[in-house]
Amino acid sequence: MRALLDARTMFDREFLNIRARLLEVAAALDRVDRAAGRNKIGTDDRWPQVSAAVRVLCDGAPDRAERVEMVFSDPYDPNWRTPSSR
């Protein structure tokens, strides 16, 4: 199976979805900013993940969905079975 719609058609169809979902992200970040105690979560280690994911969206390289998934994924150690890697 291959993609059947051309890029112009796809972008015309997806633009409002892209706009709406980016607005959701922006609004959620604003919501966190307005909540009490915002200054206490600045060191939460999920913030760098959010920033890294946004950078993936903007970098122009392909496979953004896969790369965003990997931003939010624990690392895999191919030597996980050996006792020293535990």
Partner: protein, 274 residues
């Protein structure tokens, strides 16, 4: 269009869902054994649950013209209780010869712990001894990539495992290539927030093809939608894919996989050549 939902937990759904699914063209469902939302207290509780899967749910589904298959296992979440898990594994063979039992599932990993690995390996061993199909759950969210790679390591390291008899479920963009490259079947789960959307599922089949891929709703006791496979059909049509291509994904492929079990007693009609 006729379709099969190859992974849905109907024990946690109301009967109205069967009505809606039948109306939308569902002719069969496949229901793996899963975590009920709480940790069961005994192997007897699992025996009763297995009876519900092999006796009650097929009757409930049949009232709406839907054929019900099931899978049996101790799930990845409750596998952390190793002693209970081993008791449950000993119960499973009592049910393996019942009509509609397709194999062992959904086994897998949850938080990728050593206990989960041990119980996963024990159930793979059971499936190999009894020549059963496997349905494998891959972890959620941050644990998914690591857990999927660990699962593939375990399966690929055993020469007795035939990849064509293993369905690795809940694949996403960062795991599907590893699953397909290993020769396994891949299940794409259409589930809000934590898994795929119908649109992303169409992206995946356009990138990776329709061989050894199927889509499911994994409808369960959480916010989920048993109409997601029909929504996947809609999304495929919106992208211009024809009915033959769509039927391959939502009907032929699941039945092609299930028909490897001698207890798949649903007559597949005019399956397209693989």
């Amino acid at each position: 269009m006729r379709y099969v939902d190859p992974h849905i937990h109907m024990v946690s759904r109301i009967t109205d869902d069967y009505v809606r699914m039948a109306r939308a063209g569902c002719v069969a469902v496949s229901e793996p054994a899963f975590w009920a939302g709480f940790d069961r207290g005994s192997a007897e509780a699992f025996r009763d649950y297995f009876r519900q899967l092999v006796e009650f749910e097929p009757r409930r589904a049949a009232a709406f013209g839907i054929h019900h298959f099931c899978w049996l296992c101790i799930n990845a979440k409750e596998a952390e209780n190793v002693s209970l898990a081993r008791e449950v594994i000993a119960v499973i063979p009592e049910f393996l010869d019942r009509p509609g039992v397709l194999g062992i599932g959904e086994i897998g990993l949850n938080k990728n712990t050593a206990n989960e690995v041990a119980i996963f390996e024990a159930q793979v061993e059971l499936a190999l001894k009894t020549d059963e199909l496997l349905l494998v759950h891959t972890p959620h969210l941050a644990d998914k990539y690591k857990g999927t790679r660990m699962i593939l390591d375990i399966l690929s390291s055993d020469a007795r495992v035939k990849p064509g008899r293993v369905l690795i479920d809940h694949v996403e963009e960062h795991t599907i290539r590893h699953v397909l490259d290993g020769g396994f079947w891949a299940g794409i789960t259409l589930y809000p927030t934590t898994k795929c959307t119908p649109e992303r599922a169409v992206d995946l089949v356009e990138r990776y093809g329709s061989q050894r891929i199927m889509a499911n709703s994994a409808g369960d006791w959480g916010p989920s939608n048993p109409m997601n496979v029909p929504d996947f059909v809609r999304a495929l049509r919106e992208r211009g894919h024809d009915d033959q291509a769509i039927q391959r994904l939502v009907y032929d492929n699941p039945l092609r996989y299930f028909s490897q079990s001698p207890r798949c007693n649903f007559p597949p009609e005019s399956l397209e050549p693989a």
